[in-house]
């Protein structure tokens, strides 16, 4: 039997708490800085308890264009949200449709199309970033939400996940639906999609975080401030050259940029873990 060793339990909890502290510490300091004035942040050392300027800083960030970026954090959050939702919903929709075709239909060049989609697994967008930029520029999609979203949808992970899932659904179910007179549309909308809802939700969580946290791609194609996402805006606020960085606003924006994806992870933890371990990214 496994002995109870009190000192080992103590060590276990200590290590876990230490690990959590290392993970939480930078976020905590960032939060503290977001509640203080620039002067008190720069008064080295900055005190490690929250200040009085929380409301002021967050309102200033959300409402006004900051000195270094000509657009409000509110607008940038909206852009990030559009990008994250666009990527998540777009990828789920096209993948569901493609997986349905691959599993339930026989058509010419099926294997060719399958391999065409399959090879996209190989190359993340970072690798082909400049040629993709040129393509998007030729299509006139620079500084558009569509340009932010579409190139990141070209990936096969979701298609494979749904294909795997559809293949585990017993054939009898489909036969029964056909006997009852369901055509391909009805079977898809009324049976297949509702049955896949856990997979869809898990995938949504992963893709939302993926979309929200994109950095290199929006950095390349957004030159118009109106299309900046959160992360791009934060970077621009840091690039002030010789001037003083408005740390209080940068830190408030950073906290605002972290909240939506962290909220999704914490409140949908089981779906998140399921999505992560099933898609393996």
């Amino acid at each position: 039997m496994i002995h109870n060793r009190p000192w080992l339990s103590f060590l276990t909890h200590s290590i876990l708490i230490l690990g959590i502290l290392i993970l939480v510490f930078p976020i905590y300091v960032t939060f503290v800085a977001s509640t203080r004035s620039v002067d008190s942040i720069l008064a080295s050392p900055m005190p490690l308890w929250p200040g009085m300027e929380l409301v002021k800083n967050y309102l200033a960030a959300l409402a006004g264009p900051s000195k270094s970026v000509g657009v409000s954090v509110g607008q940038m959050m909206l852009n990030s949200l559009i990008m994250a939702l666009g990527i998540a919903l777009g990828k789920i929709t096209i993948s569901l449709m493609a997986a349905y075709a691959f599993v339930y239909f026989n058509f010419r060049f099926r294997n060719l199309f399958f391999w065409m989609i399959f090879v996209t697994l190989m190359l993340p967008v970072e690798v082909r970033i400049l040629p993709t930029y040129e393509v998007v520029a030729k299509l006139g999609m620079l500084n558009t939400h569509v340009g932010l979203i579409l190139p990141l949808i070209a990936s096969a992970t979701a298609t494979f996940l749904f294909r795997q899932f559809f293949m585990t659904i017993p054939n009898e179910l489909c036969e029964a639906a056909r006997v009852d007179g369901a055509g391909p549309y009805r079977f898809f909308i009324d049976i297949l999609v509702p049955m896949s809802r856990t997979s869809i939700a898990a995938l949504f969580v992963i893709l939302f975080i993926y979309g929200w946290n994109q950095y290199l791609w929006p950095l390349l194609i957004t030159t118009d401030e109106g299309y900046y996402t959160m992360l791009i805006g934060i970077k621009r606020m840091l690039d002030v050259g010789e001037g003083q960085i408005e740390w209080n606003l940068v830190m408030a924006s950073t906290i605002l940029a972290i909240i939506p994806p962290v909220f999704v992870v914490v409140y949908m933890q089981n779906l998140f873990v399921k999505g992560l371990t099933e898609t393996e990214k």
């Binding site: 039997m1 496994i2 002995h3 060793r5 080992l8 276990t12 290590i15 876990l16 690990g19 959590i20 993970l23 930078p26 300091v29 960032t30 800085a33 942040i41 929709t93 096209i94 449709m97 493609a98 075709a101 691959f102 026989n106 058509f107 294997n111 199309f113 399958f114 989609i117 697994l121 190989m122 190359l123 993340p124 970072e126 082909r128 400049l130 040629p131 993709t132 393509v135 949808i153 054939n171 489909c174 391909p184 975080i209 946290n213 950095y215 290199l216 950095l219 970077k235 840091l238 740390w247 972290i258 962290v262 999704v264 992870v265 914490v266 933890q269 998140f272 873990v273 399921k274 371990t277």
Partner: protein
Amino acid sequence: MIQQRVVFNNKVLPYLLIAPQVIITLVFFFWPASQALYQSVLQEDPFGLASTFVGLDNFIDIFTDEIYLNSLLTTGFFSISVTFSSMIVSLLLAVMANRVLWGGAIYKTLLIWPYAVATMIAGVLWFFLFNSTAGIIAYFLRVMEYDWNHALNTGQAMFLVIFASAWRQISYNFIFFLAGLHSIPPSLIEASAIDGASPFKRFWTIVFPLLSPTSFFLIVVNVVYSFFETFGVVHAITGGGPDYATNILVFKVYHDGVLGLDIGSSAAQSVILMSIVIFLTVIQFRYIERKVHY
């Protein structure tokens, strides 16, 4: 592909169903990828007016360029450091979280959430803490009379980007290690405990070997992560400097192509990156059947 499943006989519908994905793949994947291959054998004049076929000259230039070779070494060192430091910490935390009898769920939640933090944000967080004018950690280092300035000191800059990148990846590795630990049958642990093996011995002789598929999978994923996704960390903290100390490959592609406008060289670098990723993916697929389950 398994063919047994075909049910509906519709001539047009399947093409309509796959059309969106196929079109997006063609336009945003095959077109750019072939452009990269094509441009990598061309030399464009500085005004972008004409280009000439130069064969493998771009590749020869790259592999004789000291900055590129340095970047290759930097990336190697960087990705190995990130992968192993992050995985060791995660493994320790996962083994501990797997041990606790109460509070396990709370520990788990608190250890998982940093996955949601973007790499670029991880860079900003640690950049702020180590910043020479505002940083708390930089302040305490000064108090201890340790001279910290990652804007000038190459070793410190490298340490900081490794640290921030590894920090961001702890949660990811933790989730997979914990999943791996859950899949080990308790009876094995129990049996060795009855035979008198201490907790440490049980870990090294039973748990660790049984985790090897997970570890192997994570090594590949973490190397890919540190090759590409860490762009945000480097861009936020060091911008590739000082003196090219943190100039990893993906940053160099961005720098040469976007800021330097050297399209031919940048395309050739992209092609080299593509070969590296394809190599890593092939390794990963060979082991995909050993996928872990949570």
